[in-house]
Symmetry: C2
Subunit: 329 residues, 2 copies
């Protein structure tokens, strides 16, 4: 199994990317390869004393987060994103892992590696912390304006992702909505409710935003606009709480000992709420395994992203999705 | 100034409603009146030694939260909601305050007290805690499917609300969106951006969900579906944090003293995040002042709801909105 890493993508490229890839190679018995600045990559590999053969696609062209994704991916043919996805398509790698622009990765995925038959749009799942462990939100930001049929497709892809990558059998699927009763919501969710209810998914009905972190379902289905609001609000509320508690602590005049204990508690809590901790998420609906790692990924996050790719490949996620979308649509 | 209270609405009716009304009468020099079970109301008034004259519209019919609002308001003509709004329309009161079903209050507001000319839909503003104090979200759940022009109307109403009730001059208006740059978002927010930019509002551009609690604007504009998701997610994340910290504390084996200190901190923090604390919110766009208090309001929350009504009346919120919607639309 060969994993290809984007050594130009993300805030900590190339050092943390290369380190993470090497960790993956050591722990998971996979071949690693890179797309990026050959000289810099080899320098890091040397520092790490990694002496196995590594193939490198040399480039220094990068797509920035600010660029319009579809335009950038067409124009910057030598960008690490475009070259990486091309190598994937030509079977020079089994999975591509990038901490670069999500939009460019999605656009490139659609243009270069292409969608699975019958999949209308690729979707981005993201895990949120919850009382039951993790809850997967799909779509978390790739698709803004959606119809009900798209939401059903997201649910199908999310289900396969949870089964293949997370080992969760027959996950509980909830539709993000403003009330639990059938008939609640906007035109989109009302129609999606009917489609989900009539599907062979383990549909548990509408789920309110207050219950997402309560772990009432394993998979939360919504359009990418609402999913983005949900995720970023979770991040914002956690940040707000940290600010609030810090100022309360300042005013409270606590003992040194208590301060230390409280500090440890908060650092743990903060980690539990950080959806970046997860490492990587697979862009669903493409013909090959493309993993998006968070922009500020360190080596551990990159290794975790690689691990998600390995699990997906071992469990034949692409073949499963191809079969699902042949049969169910 | 006469305030009319719904003594059948909410979890703590009639006792806390009547107590809150009496507090308002004592503190704000207003006349109070009730719609509800006359015998019960008089019993509470007697217990409180309130001996001023109080007019009571006697009824025991109530609209439950589970009922379909528009249907219930038409069918239950003797419900406290319907009778209260009717009294308001007939100028037997200056404002109506209810902790009952939000949907019924909105439906009744539209059917009975009617909308201000040119206002297309009534909207529900809700305050969220933020680093700058409070941030108003409009619409927070009254209107599911919206067009861009509706979002502009919500912004105009929210601005007047903040100026009239909160004394905030020229509030900063943000459009809830998935990115800060112009051109981001779904079809609705892209179009709304243009309308807001060309309005005479103090429009500060798109605001991401992570920045709502950071206090980057005073007024967050969104459709009611998204607003509901934002609010309930804030509630859910706060709840999740409390659960998490409680279990961490259990495992941490802290000293008794630290436990006590931490407990106090959390109770303060919890209050800061509780959007129910605010008391009451005014249904915007109606021809009269209708205040929705939270379902589980206690006497203090009811008094705060009354205070919002008094401020709105003193600052001529209805006349201001009538003028705004004559000039701007």
């Amino acid at each position: 199994m060969r994993l290809l890493f984007d050594a130009l993508g993300g805030d900590n490229a190339p050092v943390e990317i290369v380190k993470g890839a090497v960790l993956a190679a050591e722990e998971m018995n996979v071949d690693i390869s890179f797309v990026g600045n050959k000289i810099e990559i080899e320098k890091v590999l040397k520092e790490l004393n990694y002496d196995k053969e590594v193939s490198i696609i040399n480039t220094t062209e990068k797509i920035e987060n600010e660029e319009e994704p579809a335009y950038a991916i067409r124009k910057k043919k030598n960008s690490s994103t475009a070259l990486g996805l091309k190598a994937l398509k030509e079977n020079n790698a089994d999975a591509f892992i990038s901490a670069g622009s999500t939009g460019a990765l999605l656009a490139g995925g659609l243009f270069i590696t292409k969608r699975i038959d019958n999949v209308k749009r690729a979707a981005l799942p993201t895990e949120l912390p919850s009382l039951s462990g993790k809850t997967l939100v799909i779509d978390s930001g790739a698709n803004m304006d959606c119809d009900a049929n798209l939401l059903l497709q997201f649910a199908l892809m999310g289900k396969t992702y949870l089964e293949s990558v997370k080992g969760l059998e027959n996950p509980r699927v909830g539709l993000l909505n403003v009330g639990t009763e059938e008939g609640k919501g906007n035109a989109l969710t009302k129609e999606a409710f009917t489609l989900l209810k009539n599907s062979n998914l383990n549909f548990v009905g509408n789920i309110e935003a207050r219950d997402v972190t309560m772990g009432k379902c394993d998979l939360v289905v919504c359009d990418g606009f609402v999913g983005n609001i949900l995720l970023k609000n979770t991040e914002g509320v956690a940040k707000f709480l940290m600010h609030t508690i810090q100022s309360e602590i300042k005013n409270a005049d606590l003992s040194k000992e208590t301060l230390l204990e409280v500090g440890t508690l908060f650092s743990k809590m903060s980690k539990k709420l950080d959806y970046k901790e997860v490492g990587g998420t697979i862009l669903l609906g493409l013909k090959q395994v493309v993993v998006k790692a968070h922009g500020d990924s360190d080596s551990i996050a990159i290794k975790n992203a690689a691990s998600a790719a390995v699990k997906a490949l071992n469990n034949n996620i692409i073949e499963t999705l191809e079969r699902d979308f042949k049969e169910n649509i």
